[in-house]
Symmetry: C2
Subunit: 238 residues, 2 copies
Protein backbone atom coordinates (compact mmCIF):
# COMPACT_ATOMS: atom_id res chain seq x y z
CA UNK A 1 0.00 0.00 0.00
CA UNK A 2 1.41 3.34 -1.05
CA UNK A 3 2.40 5.90 1.57
CA UNK A 4 1.10 9.41 1.05
CA UNK A 5 3.19 12.14 2.64
CA UNK A 6 1.56 15.53 3.19
CA UNK A 7 3.86 18.47 3.77
CA UNK A 8 4.50 22.01 2.59
CA UNK A 9 5.89 21.59 -0.92
CA UNK A 10 8.49 24.34 -1.00
CA UNK A 11 10.61 23.59 2.03
CA UNK A 12 12.50 20.69 3.53
CA UNK A 13 11.21 21.50 7.01
CA UNK A 14 10.02 18.72 9.28
CA UNK A 15 8.71 16.75 6.31
CA UNK A 16 12.28 16.09 5.21
CA UNK A 17 12.89 13.69 8.08
CA UNK A 18 10.04 11.57 6.73
CA UNK A 19 11.15 11.94 3.11
CA UNK A 20 14.63 10.67 3.99
CA UNK A 21 13.21 7.54 5.64
CA UNK A 22 10.90 6.79 2.70
CA UNK A 23 13.69 7.40 0.20
CA UNK A 24 16.29 5.36 2.06
CA UNK A 25 13.90 2.42 2.20
CA UNK A 26 12.94 2.73 -1.46
CA UNK A 27 9.32 2.89 -0.31
CA UNK A 28 6.42 3.42 -2.66
CA UNK A 29 5.27 6.91 -1.72
CA UNK A 30 3.82 10.13 -3.09
CA UNK A 31 4.70 13.59 -1.85
CA UNK A 32 1.14 14.74 -2.29
CA UNK A 33 1.35 18.52 -1.86
CA UNK A 34 4.00 18.67 -4.60
CA UNK A 35 1.57 17.19 -7.13
CA UNK A 36 -0.98 19.26 -9.07
CA UNK A 37 -3.98 19.99 -6.78
CA UNK A 38 -2.05 18.41 -3.94
CA UNK A 39 -2.17 21.46 -1.67
CA UNK A 40 -5.94 21.45 -1.99
CA UNK A 41 -6.07 17.81 -0.93
CA UNK A 42 -3.83 18.51 2.04
CA UNK A 43 -5.84 21.51 3.21
CA UNK A 44 -9.10 19.54 2.88
CA UNK A 45 -7.77 16.91 5.29
CA UNK A 46 -6.51 19.55 7.73
CA UNK A 47 -9.85 21.34 7.70
CA UNK A 48 -12.10 18.29 7.86
CA UNK A 49 -13.86 18.91 11.19
CA UNK A 50 -15.48 15.48 11.23
CA UNK A 51 -12.33 13.40 11.40
CA UNK A 52 -11.78 11.70 14.75
CA UNK A 53 -8.00 11.72 14.23
CA UNK A 54 -7.17 15.11 12.72
CA UNK A 55 -3.54 16.17 12.38
CA UNK A 56 -2.59 19.37 14.18
CA UNK A 57 -0.27 20.41 11.34
CA UNK A 58 1.81 18.96 8.50
CA UNK A 59 3.70 16.71 8.11
CA UNK A 60 1.28 13.85 8.23
CA UNK A 61 1.23 10.48 6.57
CA UNK A 62 -1.73 8.71 5.07
CA UNK A 63 -1.48 4.95 4.78
CA UNK A 64 -4.75 3.46 3.70
CA UNK A 65 -7.38 5.03 5.97
CA UNK A 66 -4.90 5.70 8.71
CA UNK A 67 -3.48 9.16 9.31
CA UNK A 68 -0.36 9.55 11.40
CA UNK A 69 0.93 13.00 12.34
CA UNK A 70 3.84 14.52 14.28
CA UNK A 71 7.21 13.85 12.65
CA UNK A 72 8.63 11.59 15.37
CA UNK A 73 5.38 9.64 15.55
CA UNK A 74 5.39 9.11 11.78
CA UNK A 75 8.92 7.76 12.03
CA UNK A 76 7.91 5.51 14.92
CA UNK A 77 5.20 4.12 12.64
CA UNK A 78 7.49 3.78 9.62
CA UNK A 79 10.50 2.48 11.54
CA UNK A 80 9.20 -1.06 11.88
CA UNK A 81 7.63 -1.13 8.44
CA UNK A 82 10.64 0.19 6.54
CA UNK A 83 13.21 -1.78 8.52
CA UNK A 84 14.63 1.45 9.92
CA UNK A 85 14.24 0.46 13.56
CA UNK A 86 14.98 -2.80 15.37
CA UNK A 87 12.10 -4.97 16.58
CA UNK A 88 13.01 -5.05 20.28
CA UNK A 89 11.31 -2.55 22.56
CA UNK A 90 14.44 -1.28 24.33
CA UNK A 91 16.19 -0.10 21.21
CA UNK A 92 12.98 1.03 19.56
CA UNK A 93 12.27 3.34 22.50
CA UNK A 94 15.84 4.60 22.61
CA UNK A 95 15.79 5.44 18.90
CA UNK A 96 12.50 7.26 19.39
CA UNK A 97 14.03 9.15 22.31
CA UNK A 98 16.92 10.23 20.06
CA UNK A 99 14.42 11.33 17.41
CA UNK A 100 12.56 13.44 19.97
CA UNK A 101 15.85 15.03 20.97
CA UNK A 102 16.55 15.85 17.32
CA UNK A 103 13.03 17.34 17.20
CA UNK A 104 13.98 19.60 20.12
CA UNK A 105 17.09 20.72 18.26
CA UNK A 106 15.01 21.44 15.16
CA UNK A 107 12.54 23.55 17.16
CA UNK A 108 15.39 25.54 18.67
CA UNK A 109 17.01 26.01 15.25
CA UNK A 110 13.70 27.42 14.02
CA UNK A 111 13.31 29.72 17.00
CA UNK A 112 16.72 31.27 16.32
CA UNK A 113 15.18 33.23 13.46
CA UNK A 114 11.74 33.53 15.07
CA UNK A 115 12.37 34.12 18.78
CA UNK A 116 9.40 36.44 19.26
CA UNK A 117 6.97 34.19 17.42
CA UNK A 118 6.11 32.39 14.23
CA UNK A 119 3.37 34.88 13.42
CA UNK A 120 5.81 37.71 12.71
CA UNK A 121 8.33 38.07 9.90
CA UNK A 122 12.02 37.57 10.55
CA UNK A 123 12.49 41.21 9.59
CA UNK A 124 10.37 42.20 12.59
CA UNK A 125 12.56 40.38 15.09
CA UNK A 126 16.11 40.76 13.83
CA UNK A 127 17.77 42.12 17.00
CA UNK A 128 16.11 39.41 19.10
CA UNK A 129 17.16 36.78 16.55
CA UNK A 130 20.75 37.96 16.77
CA UNK A 131 20.75 37.53 20.55
CA UNK A 132 19.17 34.12 20.35
CA UNK A 133 21.52 32.99 17.57
CA UNK A 134 24.53 33.77 19.73
CA UNK A 135 23.32 31.50 22.51
CA UNK A 136 22.29 28.82 20.04
CA UNK A 137 25.71 28.80 18.34
CA UNK A 138 27.70 28.98 21.55
CA UNK A 139 25.69 26.71 23.82
CA UNK A 140 23.05 24.68 22.12
CA UNK A 141 24.69 23.24 18.99
CA UNK A 142 27.48 21.77 21.10
CA UNK A 143 25.08 20.49 23.73
CA UNK A 144 23.07 18.58 21.12
CA UNK A 145 25.87 17.39 18.81
CA UNK A 146 28.06 16.55 21.80
CA UNK A 147 25.23 14.36 23.07
CA UNK A 148 24.90 12.47 19.78
CA UNK A 149 28.70 12.14 19.64
CA UNK A 150 28.60 10.49 23.05
CA UNK A 151 25.73 8.18 22.08
CA UNK A 152 27.41 6.96 18.89
CA UNK A 153 30.77 6.58 20.64
CA UNK A 154 29.16 4.48 23.40
CA UNK A 155 27.26 2.21 20.97
CA UNK A 156 28.31 -1.34 21.92
CA UNK A 157 28.04 -2.34 18.24
CA UNK A 158 30.52 0.35 17.22
CA UNK A 159 30.29 4.03 16.31
CA UNK A 160 29.00 3.64 12.74
CA UNK A 161 25.41 4.25 13.81
CA UNK A 162 23.65 5.70 16.82
CA UNK A 163 22.07 2.43 17.94
CA UNK A 164 22.98 -1.14 17.05
CA UNK A 165 24.74 -2.35 13.90
CA UNK A 166 22.32 -0.91 11.34
CA UNK A 167 21.16 2.52 10.27
CA UNK A 168 17.88 3.68 11.81
CA UNK A 169 15.63 6.61 11.01
CA UNK A 170 17.42 8.53 13.79
CA UNK A 171 20.70 8.27 11.85
CA UNK A 172 19.00 9.69 8.75
CA UNK A 173 17.56 12.48 10.90
CA UNK A 174 20.93 13.27 12.45
CA UNK A 175 22.35 13.59 8.92
CA UNK A 176 19.58 16.07 8.15
CA UNK A 177 20.21 18.03 11.35
CA UNK A 178 23.91 18.37 10.49
CA UNK A 179 23.04 19.43 6.94
CA UNK A 180 20.63 22.02 8.27
CA UNK A 181 23.14 23.40 10.76
CA UNK A 182 25.83 23.60 8.08
CA UNK A 183 23.47 25.47 5.78
CA UNK A 184 22.28 27.90 8.45
CA UNK A 185 25.54 28.45 10.30
CA UNK A 186 28.38 27.64 7.86
CA UNK A 187 31.03 29.61 9.71
CA UNK A 188 30.14 28.35 13.17
CA UNK A 189 29.99 24.76 11.94
CA UNK A 190 33.28 25.01 10.02
CA UNK A 191 34.91 26.28 13.17
CA UNK A 192 33.45 23.76 15.59
CA UNK A 193 32.33 20.55 13.92
CA UNK A 194 35.71 18.82 14.24
CA UNK A 195 34.75 18.41 17.90
CA UNK A 196 32.17 15.83 16.85
CA UNK A 197 34.11 13.49 14.51
CA UNK A 198 31.81 10.51 15.07
CA UNK A 199 28.77 12.57 14.16
CA UNK A 200 30.47 13.95 11.04
CA UNK A 201 31.55 10.46 9.95
CA UNK A 202 28.00 9.19 10.52
CA UNK A 203 26.68 12.08 8.42
CA UNK A 204 29.08 11.07 5.61
CA UNK A 205 28.02 7.44 5.90
CA UNK A 206 24.35 8.41 5.46
CA UNK A 207 25.17 10.65 2.47
CA UNK A 208 26.82 7.71 0.71
CA UNK A 209 23.94 5.28 1.08
CA UNK A 210 22.97 4.64 -2.55
CA UNK A 211 19.30 5.60 -2.30
CA UNK A 212 20.08 8.69 -0.20
CA UNK A 213 22.82 9.77 -2.63
CA UNK A 214 20.39 9.35 -5.54
CA UNK A 215 17.71 11.27 -3.69
CA UNK A 216 20.03 14.15 -2.78
CA UNK A 217 21.04 14.47 -6.44
CA UNK A 218 17.42 14.44 -7.64
CA UNK A 219 14.91 17.25 -7.88
CA UNK A 220 12.83 15.51 -5.24
CA UNK A 221 15.23 17.08 -2.72
CA UNK A 222 13.97 20.64 -2.20
CA UNK A 223 16.99 22.95 -1.76
CA UNK A 224 17.48 24.63 1.61
CA UNK A 225 16.04 28.15 1.56
CA UNK A 226 15.04 31.00 3.82
CA UNK A 227 11.43 29.86 4.14
CA UNK A 228 12.33 26.63 5.89
CA UNK A 229 13.22 25.71 9.43
CA UNK A 230 16.97 25.96 9.00
CA UNK A 231 17.67 29.38 7.49
CA UNK A 232 20.86 31.08 6.52
CA UNK A 233 21.10 34.75 7.45
CA UNK A 234 24.75 35.78 7.57
CA UNK A 235 24.10 38.13 10.50
CA UNK A 236 23.05 35.13 12.60
CA UNK A 237 26.23 33.15 11.90
CA UNK A 238 29.59 33.58 13.61
Amino acid sequence: MRYELYYWPEIQGRGEFVRLALEDAGADYADIARLPQGMKTMMAILEDGDRADPPFAPPFLKHGDRIVAQTANILLYLGERLDLAPPDEDRRLFIHQLQLTIADLVTEAHDVHHPVGGGLYYEDQKPEARRRAKEFRHERIGKFLGYFERVAAANPKGPDWLVGAHASYADLSLFQAVEGLRYAFPKAMAKHEAQWPTVVALRDRVAKRPRIAAYLASDRRVPFNTNGIFRHYSELDD
Copy 2:
Protein backbone atom coordinates in the same frame (compact mmCIF):
# COMPACT_ATOMS: atom_id res chain seq x y z
CA MET B 1 9.12 -3.61 39.82
CA ARG B 2 9.22 -0.07 41.17
CA TYR B 3 9.40 2.86 38.77
CA GLU B 4 12.03 5.48 39.51
CA LEU B 5 11.28 8.95 38.18
CA TYR B 6 14.17 11.39 37.89
CA TYR B 7 13.32 15.06 37.56
CA TRP B 8 14.18 18.43 39.03
CA PRO B 9 12.67 18.36 42.50
CA GLU B 10 11.44 21.92 42.86
CA ILE B 11 9.26 22.34 39.80
CA GLN B 12 6.35 20.61 38.11
CA GLY B 13 7.90 21.07 34.69
CA ARG B 14 7.89 18.24 32.19
CA GLY B 15 8.20 15.68 34.97
CA GLU B 16 4.66 16.49 36.07
CA PHE B 17 3.18 14.77 33.03
CA VAL B 18 4.87 11.57 34.17
CA ARG B 19 3.96 12.08 37.83
CA LEU B 20 0.28 12.42 36.91
CA ALA B 21 0.30 9.13 35.01
CA LEU B 22 2.05 7.27 37.82
CA GLU B 23 -0.28 8.79 40.42
CA ASP B 24 -3.46 8.15 38.46
CA ALA B 25 -2.50 4.49 38.05
CA GLY B 26 -1.57 4.10 41.71
CA ALA B 27 1.82 2.85 40.51
CA ASP B 28 4.64 1.95 42.86
CA TYR B 29 7.16 4.71 42.17
CA ALA B 30 9.78 6.92 43.76
CA ASP B 31 10.43 10.53 42.79
CA ILE B 32 14.16 10.07 43.26
CA ALA B 33 15.51 13.62 43.13
CA ARG B 34 13.14 14.65 45.92
CA LEU B 35 14.66 12.10 48.28
CA PRO B 36 17.82 12.78 50.34
CA GLN B 37 20.90 12.39 48.08
CA GLY B 38 18.54 11.96 45.14
CA MET B 39 19.92 14.85 43.11
CA LYS B 40 23.36 13.27 43.37
CA THR B 41 22.00 9.98 42.04
CA MET B 42 20.29 11.78 39.16
CA MET B 43 23.38 13.75 38.19
CA ALA B 44 25.53 10.62 38.32
CA ILE B 45 23.29 8.94 35.74
CA LEU B 46 23.27 12.05 33.53
CA GLU B 47 27.05 12.30 33.65
CA ASP B 48 27.84 8.61 33.20
CA GLY B 49 29.76 8.70 29.91
CA ASP B 50 29.82 4.91 29.57
CA ARG B 51 26.08 4.35 29.30
CA ALA B 52 24.95 3.29 25.83
CA ASP B 53 21.50 4.83 26.41
CA PRO B 54 22.11 8.13 28.19
CA PRO B 55 19.23 10.57 28.67
CA PHE B 56 19.71 14.02 27.14
CA ALA B 57 17.99 15.69 30.08
CA PRO B 58 15.45 15.00 32.85
CA PRO B 59 12.81 13.72 33.10
CA PHE B 60 13.82 10.12 32.72
CA LEU B 61 12.44 6.93 34.12
CA LYS B 62 14.39 3.97 35.42
CA HIS B 63 12.60 0.66 35.42
CA GLY B 64 14.96 -2.14 36.33
CA ASP B 65 18.05 -1.63 34.15
CA ARG B 66 16.11 0.21 31.52
CA ILE B 67 16.24 3.98 31.20
CA VAL B 68 13.58 5.80 29.19
CA ALA B 69 13.84 9.54 28.53
CA GLN B 70 11.85 12.26 26.77
CA THR B 71 8.49 12.92 28.39
CA ALA B 72 6.30 11.67 25.54
CA ASN B 73 8.45 8.57 25.15
CA ILE B 74 8.17 7.80 28.87
CA LEU B 75 4.40 8.06 28.58
CA LEU B 76 4.44 5.82 25.52
CA TYR B 77 6.30 3.25 27.63
CA LEU B 78 4.03 3.67 30.64
CA GLY B 79 0.78 3.87 28.69
CA GLU B 80 0.49 0.15 28.06
CA ARG B 81 1.85 -0.83 31.44
CA LEU B 82 -0.39 1.46 33.51
CA ASP B 83 -3.51 0.90 31.43
CA LEU B 84 -3.45 4.53 30.31
CA ALA B 85 -3.44 3.74 26.58
CA PRO B 86 -5.43 1.24 24.55
CA PRO B 87 -3.68 -1.82 23.11
CA ASP B 88 -4.46 -1.22 19.44
CA GLU B 89 -1.83 0.51 17.33
CA ASP B 90 -4.15 3.09 15.72
CA ARG B 91 -5.31 4.65 18.94
CA ARG B 92 -1.95 4.21 20.63
CA LEU B 93 -0.30 6.24 17.86
CA PHE B 94 -3.02 8.87 17.91
CA ILE B 95 -2.69 9.33 21.67
CA HIS B 96 1.07 9.66 21.26
CA GLN B 97 0.49 12.22 18.53
CA LEU B 98 -1.72 14.22 20.90
CA GLN B 99 0.95 13.99 23.58
CA LEU B 100 3.57 15.34 21.16
CA THR B 101 1.24 18.21 20.35
CA ILE B 102 0.89 18.96 24.07
CA ALA B 103 4.70 18.86 24.24
CA ASP B 104 4.82 21.52 21.51
CA LEU B 105 2.41 23.68 23.51
CA VAL B 106 4.56 23.24 26.63
CA THR B 107 7.72 24.28 24.75
CA GLU B 108 5.96 27.38 23.45
CA ALA B 109 4.64 28.21 26.93
CA HIS B 110 8.21 28.03 28.21
CA ASP B 111 9.58 30.19 25.41
CA VAL B 112 7.10 32.95 26.28
CA HIS B 113 9.26 33.87 29.26
CA HIS B 114 12.55 32.83 27.61
CA PRO B 115 12.27 33.92 23.97
CA VAL B 116 15.94 34.84 23.62
CA GLY B 117 17.19 31.68 25.22
CA GLY B 118 17.17 29.41 28.26
CA GLY B 119 20.69 30.48 29.22
CA LEU B 120 19.62 34.01 30.18
CA TYR B 121 17.44 35.16 33.04
CA TYR B 122 13.87 36.28 32.42
CA GLU B 123 14.93 39.71 33.67
CA ASP B 124 17.33 39.96 30.72
CA GLN B 125 14.62 39.41 28.12
CA LYS B 126 11.51 41.12 29.47
CA PRO B 127 10.62 43.28 26.44
CA GLU B 128 11.04 40.29 24.12
CA ALA B 129 8.96 38.15 26.46
CA ARG B 130 6.19 40.73 26.39
CA ARG B 131 6.06 40.62 22.60
CA ARG B 132 6.10 36.86 22.51
CA ALA B 133 3.45 36.59 25.23
CA LYS B 134 1.07 38.69 23.18
CA GLU B 135 1.28 36.36 20.22
CA PHE B 136 1.06 33.31 22.46
CA ARG B 137 -2.08 34.58 24.20
CA HIS B 138 -3.77 35.82 21.05
CA GLU B 139 -2.85 33.11 18.58
CA ARG B 140 -1.31 30.03 20.08
CA ILE B 141 -3.45 29.17 23.12
CA GLY B 142 -6.56 29.15 20.95
CA LYS B 143 -4.85 27.21 18.19
CA PHE B 144 -3.87 24.43 20.59
CA LEU B 145 -6.93 24.33 22.85
CA GLY B 146 -9.22 24.69 19.85
CA TYR B 147 -7.53 21.64 18.37
CA PHE B 148 -8.07 19.55 21.49
CA GLU B 149 -11.66 20.80 21.67
CA ARG B 150 -12.20 19.53 18.14
CA VAL B 151 -10.55 16.17 18.86
CA ALA B 152 -12.64 15.51 21.98
CA ALA B 153 -15.82 16.69 20.26
CA ALA B 154 -15.19 14.32 17.32
CA ASN B 155 -14.42 11.30 19.53
CA PRO B 156 -16.84 8.57 18.34
CA LYS B 157 -17.07 7.28 21.92
CA GLY B 158 -18.24 10.66 23.20
CA PRO B 159 -16.52 13.82 24.38
CA ASP B 160 -15.57 12.68 27.87
CA TRP B 161 -12.02 11.82 26.82
CA LEU B 162 -9.78 12.65 23.88
CA VAL B 163 -9.67 9.11 22.50
CA GLY B 164 -12.00 6.18 23.13
CA ALA B 165 -14.16 5.58 26.20
CA HIS B 166 -11.39 5.68 28.82
CA ALA B 167 -8.92 8.23 30.13
CA SER B 168 -5.44 8.03 28.65
CA TYR B 169 -2.20 9.72 29.63
CA ALA B 170 -2.99 12.40 27.03
CA ASP B 171 -6.11 13.38 29.01
CA LEU B 172 -4.03 13.72 32.17
CA SER B 173 -1.53 15.83 30.22
CA LEU B 174 -4.25 18.04 28.80
CA PHE B 175 -5.46 18.64 32.36
CA GLN B 176 -1.93 19.70 33.27
CA ALA B 177 -1.64 21.99 30.25
CA VAL B 178 -4.88 23.76 31.19
CA GLU B 179 -3.72 24.10 34.81
CA GLY B 180 -0.43 25.55 33.63
CA LEU B 181 -2.10 28.02 31.30
CA ARG B 182 -4.51 29.10 34.03
CA TYR B 183 -1.62 29.66 36.43
CA ALA B 184 0.51 31.57 33.93
CA PHE B 185 -2.21 33.57 32.19
CA PRO B 186 -5.17 33.81 34.61
CA LYS B 187 -6.74 36.84 32.96
CA ALA B 188 -6.39 35.58 29.40
CA MET B 189 -7.76 32.18 30.35
CA ALA B 190 -10.68 33.62 32.35
CA LYS B 191 -11.58 35.71 29.33
CA HIS B 192 -11.25 32.99 26.68
CA GLU B 193 -11.59 29.49 28.08
CA ALA B 194 -15.36 29.34 27.67
CA GLN B 195 -14.60 28.86 23.98
CA TRP B 196 -13.34 25.35 24.79
CA PRO B 197 -16.09 23.86 26.97
CA THR B 198 -15.24 20.25 26.14
CA VAL B 199 -11.63 20.78 27.16
CA VAL B 200 -12.66 22.49 30.40
CA ALA B 201 -15.10 19.69 31.24
CA LEU B 202 -12.41 17.13 30.51
CA ARG B 203 -10.02 19.02 32.81
CA ASP B 204 -12.67 18.89 35.58
CA ARG B 205 -13.20 15.17 34.98
CA VAL B 206 -9.48 14.51 35.45
CA ALA B 207 -9.33 16.65 38.61
CA LYS B 208 -12.08 14.52 40.15
CA ARG B 209 -10.44 11.16 39.56
CA PRO B 210 -9.89 9.90 43.10
CA ARG B 211 -6.16 9.27 42.88
CA ILE B 212 -5.56 12.56 41.03
CA ALA B 213 -7.65 14.48 43.59
CA ALA B 214 -5.66 12.87 46.42
CA TYR B 215 -2.39 13.66 44.68
CA LEU B 216 -3.30 17.29 44.03
CA ALA B 217 -4.15 17.71 47.71
CA SER B 218 -0.88 16.11 48.84
CA ASP B 219 2.56 17.60 49.27
CA ARG B 220 3.77 15.37 46.46
CA ARG B 221 2.29 17.98 44.12
CA VAL B 222 4.91 20.73 43.86
CA PRO B 223 3.12 24.10 43.64
CA PHE B 224 3.42 26.09 40.43
CA ASN B 225 6.18 28.67 40.75
CA THR B 226 8.32 31.03 38.68
CA ASN B 227 11.12 28.54 38.22
CA GLY B 228 8.99 26.12 36.24
CA ILE B 229 7.87 25.92 32.65
CA PHE B 230 4.55 27.67 33.16
CA ARG B 231 5.30 30.95 34.94
CA HIS B 232 3.08 33.73 36.08
CA TYR B 233 4.39 37.22 35.45
CA SER B 234 1.51 39.67 35.47
CA GLU B 235 3.13 41.76 32.73
CA LEU B 236 2.87 38.77 30.37
CA ASP B 237 -0.86 38.25 30.98
CA ASP B 238 -3.69 40.16 29.37
